[in-house]
């Protein structure tokens, strides 16, 4: 969906403007995750992850069919991905958190795709040399998320193209240039790699069937901007004899400064930022829902819905009771904006410190995580 004039832009390559999730659900043709479906999922996973409880993962396609398969005792897979282009930010890690949790709760294999050709194809002047470093670095972050090495298979598009290219060609044979233009807004002046790229995105959804030697369902937890790839995957799947993949889609972590998806700028927090940097970024850039003066704030209270520090806590503070307390206290003016920011820092820092410690040790495990 591209609507620059109307502000909201949501494509795999650009997310900007005020995100209207109702409109995305309507226009992408996906479904809300309702109470019934949450209950059904909970029967298999135990108590839901806070990203599900809080409707940060809010939409899906074919999640029921995935649960049907699980209930029939069939193997299912997870699939998510990361196009390496720079440091991993907290926003990137949000869908990974759910992937990790689902992997642990359902004991299922996750295929983690690294489409390392993406930037060469979509960003003028970026070469594979530029991307190589980030492929290595990003894989360390993926491993540091705590995925199970026994149940995780990283596929790097260029390195493992021999496992993927044939299936990508099958997808391509069913995908016209018109379709690619309509779905991705491509023009004749765009390079042919952009046209083919989405075919490689379909492949990990079909790898489970290829690996298992029989139709095998795949669930894709990702941010909603990626949904367009899997709309195409779902369209093509039955024509190639594969089951349609399910998706479970999350909102974007808003930029600290306000609207939109967390973009890769200075004011966003990388998983490798040190404590001082995290503190500085939050303190300096987090858009505040507080009042102009302490007096007014104490009297009228702050607006947690507008406050980015609070919004980020909904993504990263797992404790519902604590979050509610913060919410109510901020609204009542008992917590000042600076204090709220500090609470975010206090949540992020230990989480990131643990991540960085795991990341430090991840280098030796890289090959263990590779699909081959």
């Amino acid at each position: 969906m591209t609507e620059k004039a109307g502000r909201m832009v949501v494509t795999p390559w650009e997310v900007s403007g005020r995100i209207d999730y109702d409109r995305l659900v309507r226009e992408f043709g996906v479904k809300r995750i309702d109470a019934r479906l949450k209950k059904r999922l909970e029967r298999h996973t135990g108590p839901l992850h806070h990203l599900l409880r809080r409707d940060i993962f809010f939409a899906h396609m074919y999640l029921d069919e995935i649960l049907d398969a699980i209930e029939r005792g069939e193997k299912v897979y997870l699939y998510t991905g990361r196009a390496p282009s720079g440091p991993v930010h907290l926003g990137h890690a949000v869908p990974w958190m759910l992937n990790r949790w689902l992997q642990e709760r359902l004991k299922v294999t996750l295929i983690f795709q690294i489409p390392d050709e993406e930037k060469t194809l979509f960003k003028e002047g970026v070469t594979f040399k530029d991307t190589e470093r980030w492929t290595r670095e990003n894989i360390l972050d993926i491993i540091a998320m705590g995925f199970d090495p026994e149940l995780t298979r990283i596929v790097v598009d260029t390195r493992h193209a021999d496992l993927m290219y044939k299936t990508a060609c099958e997808v391509a044979s069913k995908t016209t240039a018109s379709t690619a233009k309509a779905l991705f807004g491509l023009k004749d002046s765009d390079n042919v790699g952009k046209y083919f790229y989405t075919c490689m995105q379909s492949v990990p959804a079909f790898l489970p069937s290829i690996i298992e030697g029989k139709p095998t369902r795949c669930l894709i937890p990702c941010a909603i901007d990626q949904d367009v790839h899997f709309r195409l995957t779902r369209d093509v799947a039955p024509r190639l004899g594969y089951p349609k993949p399910g998706t479970i889609l999350c909102r974007f972590l808003p930029a600290l400064s306000g609207e939109g998806k967390l973009s890769s700028s200075d004011t966003n927090i990388a998983m490798t930022d040190d404590e001082r940097t995290v503190r500085k970024k939050v303190m300096k850039h987090a858009f505040s829902g507080g009042k102009d003066t302490v007096e007014e704030h104490r009297k009228h209270g702050g607006d947690p819905d507008a406050d980015m520090a609070y919004q980020w806590l909904t993504f990263f503070e797992p404790d519902d009771a604590k979050l509610k307390r913060i919410h109510d206290d901020y609204k009542a003016g008992k917590i000042l904006s600076g204090e709220l920011k500090q609470l975010l820092v206090d949540t992020l820092v230990p989480m990131m410190r643990a991540h960085q410690a795991r990341r430090e040790a991840a280098g030796k495990d890289v090959e263990k995580f590779m699909i081959r």
Copy 2:
């Protein structure tokens, strides 16, 4: 070049109509191989192959630059290919004959590409399952041509995609959909694999540089219908830091029945046809340049230029003196059309018998010929 109304069609996927080679040279922007260039090549190869002597290989691009490189003592490579879709016919083998000869005379490595995704992308309803058999079968024919196992590297696109896909993406990043449309006559209704396909065709021209770790020239002996791929390759090469490949281009073996390229029908001769089949096809289908009655033929003589048995002899009979004798005797009415056909059979049968014997023994060598 597509010009259905005007009869001549020359694309990598269709060759039909009366081929006007002068027009192809003009419109493809390639150069004639002239006496000077032949002499220059001969200094490196020794006496020229009959396909060069007889101008069956008649056009080129950058052959001088290839010879420059050889004279500077630089390594050069050969590259040719075969999209598996059915049995190898004699027409397919024509460029391979020159590849084999050049490999032997110049002692250079040949990269033999098998773009096994081509038919899935370009022929409705063809699956990889269909192609797999022909990939295997065609490789046996390639090996049976007598290539040097030490100096031949077969790359199968899907099997070796991990060696090729990254470079194909680099090519893709420099190739717009407009360009693909203009070069290959693609439409929006064509699948995106057709758009990307040509990028995989460029890769073996760049593999020499990648393998050697420095700019390394590559010469592509092939039929002129493939030139369009390498026009694109030459355009993209300098922008990716690779030298432009040279090409050396041959005419099409005409169909036994008359005009056009040898198409894959009943009336063409497969490398695996037995003696009886070869004889039957030649006797039954070879368009004759003879007169209507023996008497008239004896009196006025036949027309070797119109006679397909004679034309085929120009491709397959290496002995110039013998060929001239046949030419003159046929023209003088001393040889009847049936006798001329028999002379072709006598040339083909031992050649094919030797091929089939080598083919019989080729199975054990397949892996030896693979690039990896």
